[in-house]
């Protein structure tokens, strides 16, 4: 039984900028102005943006290609360490360090993908756990490079150097706008990519890998490329996170961290919608800060919510929107693309 198909809107698929992208741009551009009036804090905004970058990149793998990686936190961590080490050892320039985080993580991802690209489903999940653990163990034990349990400390928030002007990113608000620019750029690129022939092929692989291979597409190459790209984006998010935290710590490479991103993307509805990961990140962080204020064990409640969701509405928030809310708003009547209800 295949996974649910991505929904898409024919009218918008070739556009670079669409209505939801504009809504995202406006909402997040004004966020620092009102986030404190609703009782939250500026740093939360930075965290949310970085996680959106991570989650969107991850969904290229989970939602678009149908490959459940349970080791993606390792690549987030490699990006953070690469950013820190590039800054300390090579050249303390923001663009260079971010590029280093992307390229190094992408390279690690490319090598890992060589071992994973011919696997699917549960075997892929198990092997990705093994790789995630390998990178975690190396990072935690190779103390000469990663400083082990202590982590890389004192990573600077490098200024954004545009040649003529140099903008500081010291304050959380300034760093927020740097992350905002990165996120919006990534959203536009990913939206275009996922609606390109490349993205369509990935969706087809998610639906029926064997059939795509029979048509003549080099399926392994596509899966390899999706994995590598997704790792590069995770590295970018990791680099930004190292800057936000002013350090790189081993906990971001654990299995729990990798599991968290799966949970977030799924709760949001990454299986059926491009915007699922964004919804998931917002829900997760709002839940963490609001539930967390009332109870120490907010993760228990979040986990229960997740279990109930998988049981009754595995398409997440985006699926609820599609099935329950969008039809009542009088939008276009979109048939539910869940394969159980269509003849296959």
């Amino acid at each position: 039984m295949p996974l649910p198909a991505m929904q898409y809107d024919r009218r918008e698929t070739t556009a670079w900028i669409t209505k939801p992208i504009l809504v995202m741009a406006v909402v997040f551009a004004t966020l620092p102005l009102w986030i404190e009036t609703v009782g939250l804090y500026q740093y939360l905004g930075v965290e949310v943006l970085i996680w959106i970058v991570f989650a969107l990149g991850f969904n290229l793998l989970l939602g678009y290609t149908g490959l459940p990686s349970f080791g993606h936190g390792a690549f987030f961590g490699i990006g953070a360490y690469a950013f820190g080490l590039a800054q300390f050892e090579v050249w303390a320039n923001l663009w260079f360090c971010l590029a280093a985080a992307i390229v190094v993580t992408g390279a690690f991802g490319a090598v890992t993908a060589l071992f994973l690209a011919h696997r699917r489903g549960i075997y892929f999940a198990l092997m990705s756990i093994a790789f995630g653990q390998i990178f975690y163990f190396i990072a935690s034990k190779w103390t000469d490079v990663t400083k082990g349990e202590d982590g890389l400390l004192n990573i600077a928030r490098l200024p954004a150097d545009f040649g003529v002007v140099e903008l500081s990113t010291q304050s959380n608000t300034a760093l927020y706008y740097l992350c905002y620019a990165v996120m919006m750029g990534l959203i536009v690129l990913l939206w275009r990519l996922t609606n390109s022939p490349f993205g369509r092929t990935l969706r087809a692989i998610k639906q029926n890998e064997t059939r795509v291979a029979f048509i003549g597409y080099p399926v392994r190459l596509y899966k390899w490329a999706a994995f590598t790209l997704s790792c590069g984006i995770a590295g970018l998010a990791g680099g930004l996170f190292a800057m936000a935290q002013e350090g790189a710590y081993i906990n971001i490479m654990t299995l729990q961290w990798s599991g968290t991103i799966v949970l977030i993307v799924l709760i949001g509805g990454g299986f059926v919608s491009f915007w699922g990961p964004v919804l998931g990140v917002i829900l997760y962080f709002v839940a963490r800060d609001i539930l967390g204020a009332y109870t120490e064990t907010w993760l228990l409640w979040f986990g229960l919510m997740f279990v109930v969701l998988v049981m009754f509405k595995p398409d997440g928030i985006a699926g609820m929107w599609r099935d329950w809310i969008a039809p009542r708003l009088g939008g276009r009547p979109e048939p539910s693309p869940r394969p159980a209800e269509s003849r296959s």
Binding site: M1, P2, L3, P68, F115, H118, R119, R120, G121, I122, Y123, A125, L126, M127, I129, A130, F131, Q133, I134, F137, I138, K141, T254, L255, Q256, G259, V262, L263, L266, E296, T297, L299, L300, F302, G303, L304, F306, V307, V310, M311, F312, P314, A340
Partner: protein, 307 residues
Amino acid sequence: MLYDLIPHIINGLALGLLFALLALGFMLIIGVMEVINLAHGSLFALGAYVALAVMVPDGGLPFAFMEPYYALPDVPRYVIALIVGPLVVAAVGAGLELCLRRTYGQDPLYGLLLTFGAALVLEEGIREIWGSSEYYLPIPRGISGGFIAGDLIYSTYRIYAAIFAAAMIGLLWLFLNRTPYGAIIKAGAHDGEMVRALGHNLSRLRLFVFAFGAALAAIAGIIMAPIWGIRPVVGVDAVVPAFVVIVLGGVGSFWGAVSAGLLVGLVVGLTAAFATDWSLLSMYLLLLAVVTFRSRGLAGKASVLES
């Protein structure tokens, strides 16, 4: 040199047999329900915590009325812990199976995700009840300590653990291959629909197998507890080796899992002799080395999980 390695080899074999026991429960669940039970490690940890609560008064659940019970000598309390722990965990496993029913017939990924959520809930639940601090399960005096043979020191408990795990694996084999219940379970793993057509209650079989697999995890957890200590995160430390054993041995092969467990244990034990810090890494490298050349592991057959 080789002689000095004997205690490490014995420790490794004990570890490997426990991994194999854990992995066999995991594999029964994969076989009959086609679900990768990511909560298996949490059930392992829960078993250890329940045994702890049964063994000692300050093990997290202080019941005043149980005072006279805690005055019993340690051997009967240990035996009771070994029975109560798996029973409680089997009940939790049965509850989990009831939740899982909604995912049957869908992509196996949903079962994986549901049990991942369940693992999170169980771990946080354990934190809520017992806190995050580390406990050690006390063991009866007869099987603790060490002894000297030749001029090397052996841990008595590890030898006990190895024998116990080997006996459990043997009993499990007898149960699966020499009883009618075992035949039904194996048939259910082969073709659930046909088992149903023959008039057996498939839902009840699944409930039973899940509870049984959970109980095996709990037994492994209780035996492992004095070696590893009991922490909420111990579930992750346990579930990942179980995957490695399953993938390495090949899904669906009893002796594949046992030999993979022993192999993993030996590799971990021997690496620990030379480079303690890297002992757990060697297990993954072994997995990569084997799976690169034999993609279904040592003895695996094609299975539903590949689709």
